[in-house]
């Protein structure tokens, strides 16, 4: 069963009795929200001029819910707003303009155009300002998600508005008013025939004002149009040039938002033809950009056709004073450039506190052949950041256990040790692979694995396996185990060496004695693992 206000409003909406209008107007001030909203709707549905005049009178102060109701029933209030505009009284006209904007009366755009084109009209300037504001409202309507409950399709409103504005732009020579051009640019799609024609023909009367508008208007619709030229497969040259000559902050921010993390293929193709982007040298502006904007600025410059000096200067600035994302983008962009000055920037990036910047720079060192790259990479293996260590490792691919193993027998003792230490740091899989070798069925491979463990200083880490090898049936393996255990520190290792002192093989006994002496000389104490970590959990791979 409908509630009380619903019954009242149904009667007040449907009755032909004009007395309902006064009651509905009074309901606008009711303490009941349901009655207030219902009264707004009922006045519009009744098409009551008196009631709608009251709504227009309250246009500035009405709650948003009322405004939404007026939007839902768009077109109903238009005659009343139009009535206000058809006046010689300034206050009344101003009220009409405010109502047109508040109720988004796009249907009134042709009326406003006619007024502003007539310089004898007493309020042609107000009409022009209202036209721009309405175009802005329509642009926002188009940009926001459409509410299906609303009867008005903003796309249809746009088509009508653009058609009316096209006529006005064509009449520019007669009226010389720029507002219709600005409103046209706010709403027009980039593939509009008139727009293309004007921008490609400097003899068009509206060519210059349109170009000036493209370079100066801060209306979101104009900015949107400008940046959309970048996505165009065949953009108007003047439009694109106009866009990229702008240096105002609002445009720069809009452009960078459009470019995003990485320019699209279409944008890249267009940017390749752009040789000058003036705002890229404005250090203050660059500094004021946020992280994401700096990143976009760098990527945009990197794919554009600007001169190499300008790009290098931008990258240098960004690496020096940029925010983390800007510096990261800058160091990534260095990869696309070659030359000694770029190497200098790369070395600067290696001193960056940000591990990502550091690691990206590291990855570029060897491909560029920067002197001292190997040393830098080796030093980076001990860096506190895992990201940097990983970058160093990935660039030291020759220092893998897989390569070290077959080459081991060919290396001199000192080289075995230095390379082994590097492999241990550069290849995280080395201990596991070495363990596999230590468990090989071939005695010679087990023996070599023990030698490698000693050379790589992995005995402590793989101590259990080495102690186990001390009981190997092959005396040559036991000899190497005894030698390797000289690096060990645990009681288990010492016990194993003690047992090997009674080995049947003289060589094993001698090696065990030497290792025990080494341990005693070094003053190792039981359980002291200060210089290394165990890899007890390392298991042989299947």
């Amino acid at each position: 069963m409908p509630d009380g206000p619903t019954i009242t409003l149904r009667i007040l909406t449907e009755t032909p009795n004009e007395a309902a209008t006064a009651v509905l107007i009074a309901a606008l001030d009711s303490s009941s929200v349901a009655l207030q909203l219902g009264a707004v709707r009922a006045l519009l549905q009744r098409r009551s001029f008196e009631g709608m005049r009251e709504l227009v009178r309250r246009a500035d102060s009405m709650p948003e819910a009322w405004r939404q109701t007026v939007h839902e029933l768009h077109g109903r209030i238009t005659p009343v707003v139009r009535e206000l505009l058809d006046t010689d009284e300034a206050g009344r006209f101003e009220r009409g303009c405010r109502a047109a904007i508040a109720f988004r009366e796009y249907e009134l755009m042709p009326v406003l155009i006619a007024m502003l084109e007539d310089d004898r009209h007493p309020f042609f300037q107000e009409a022009a300002a209202t036209l721009i504001a309405l175009a802005d409202e329509l642009y926002h309507d188009l940009a926001t998600t459409r509410d299906e409950r609303r009867r008005r399709d903003p796309q249809t409103a746009r088509n009508h508005a653009v058609a009316a504005l096209e006529q006005s732009v064509r009449r520019f020579a007669a009226h010389r008013r720029r507002e219709p051009i600005e409103a046209f640019l706010q709403l027009v799609p980039r593939d509009n025939a008139l727009l293309s024609r004007i921008l490609s023909d400097p003899r068009e009367p509206s060519f210059v004002p349109m170009l000036e508008m493209l370079q100066s208007s801060v209306q979101p619709g104009v900015l949107r149009l400008l940046s959309s030229f970048l996505d165009d497969g065949r953009p108007p040259t003047t439009g694109l040039a106009g866009a990229l000559r702008r240096t105002d902050r609002r445009w720069v921010e809009h452009l960078l938002k459009r470019i995003g993390t990485e320019p699209s293929p279409a944008i890249r193709a267009n940017l390749k033809h752009v040789t000058v982007i003036p705002w890229l040298v404005d250090v203050r502006l660059l500094d004021e950009l946020d992280d994401a904007q700096q990143r976009s600025a760098v990527r945009m410059a990197a794919v554009s056709g600007i001169k190499r000096d300008a790009l290098t200067a931008l990258l240098e600035t960004m690496l020096r004073v940029g925010k983390p994302e800007g510096r990261r983008a800058a160091v990534l962009s260095l990869a696309e450039l070659k030359g000694p000055e770029i190497d200098v920037l790369l070395l600067r990036a290696l001193r960056d506190d940000d591990p990502t910047v550091h690691s990206v720079a590291l990855r570029q060192l060897r491909p560029r052949g920067v002197p001292g790259a190997l040393t830098t990479l080796i030093q980076a293996l001990d860096h506190s950041s895992a990201e940097v260590r990983e970058a160093a490792r990935s660039n030291l691919e020759e220092f893998t256990f897989r390569r070290y193993l077959p080459a081991f027998d060919l290396l001199e003792e000192s080289v075995r040790r230095t390379t082994g230490t590097l492999v241990r740091k550069a290849d995280p899989a080395a201990p596991a692979r070495l363990l596999e070798e230590m468990q090989s069925a071939h005695g010679k491979r087990r023996m070599r694995a023990l030698e490698i463990a000693a050379a790589m200083e992995l005995v402590v880490a793989l101590e259990n396996a080495v102690v186990e090898a001390a009981g190997d049936g092959d005396h040559l393996v036991r000899v190497e185990a005894a030698r390797a255990l000289g690096q060990a520190r645990s009681a288990a290792a010492r016990d194993a060496l003690d047992r090997l002192r009674d080995d049947v093989s003289f060589t094993v006994r001698e090696a065990a004695e030497q290792s025990l002496r080494r341990i005693e000389q070094a003053g190792f104490v039981d359980g002291d693992l200060a210089a290394g970590s165990r890899f007890d959990d390392v298991e042989a791979r299947p």
């Binding site: 019954i7 009242t8 009667i11 004009e18 007395a19 006064a22 509905l24 009711s30 303490s31 929200v33």
Partner: protein, 117 residues
């Protein structure tokens, strides 16, 4: 002219009937389209729609008189007029009936939601 149907009287009679029907139609249509502005009728329609009793209608009329309203229909959109605290001591005997009437005319889900919010 030969025969009854050939007489001119028939033509006159047909024209008179046609004009009468046309005139009546025009009159009724004009009457239906004529704007009416009758507050009393509106009040009556509202009372019927809410299924109010004679006593309730009478109470509403007295209330409208008390508030000096231009039309008692305004009571259907102004819940504050039913507030017995504002009405004064003379209305105390009717406080219960006024509260019932106010609930019937004004309780709505939307207002409850707005109050909660």
């Amino acid at each position: 002219m030969n025969g009854v149907f050939g007489s001119w009287y028939w033509y006159v009679a047909a024209a008179v009937v046609f004009l009468a029907v046309w005139g009546a139609t025009r009159f009724l249509r004009a009457r239906a389209e004529r704007p009416i502005d009758k507050p009393k009728h509106l009040f009556r329609d509202l009372c019927w729609a809410h299924d109010l009793t004679r006593r309730e209608v009478s109470l509403l009329k007295s209330l409208a008189k008390h508030w000096q309203l231009a039309t008692p229909s305004l009571l259907f959109v102004q819940p504050t007029h039913f507030d017995s605290a504002k009405l004064g001591a003379g209305w105390e005997p009717y406080a219960g009936r006024l509260a019932d009437l106010r609930d019937r005319l004004f309780l709505s889900g939307l207002d409850e939601a707005a109050t909660r919010a």
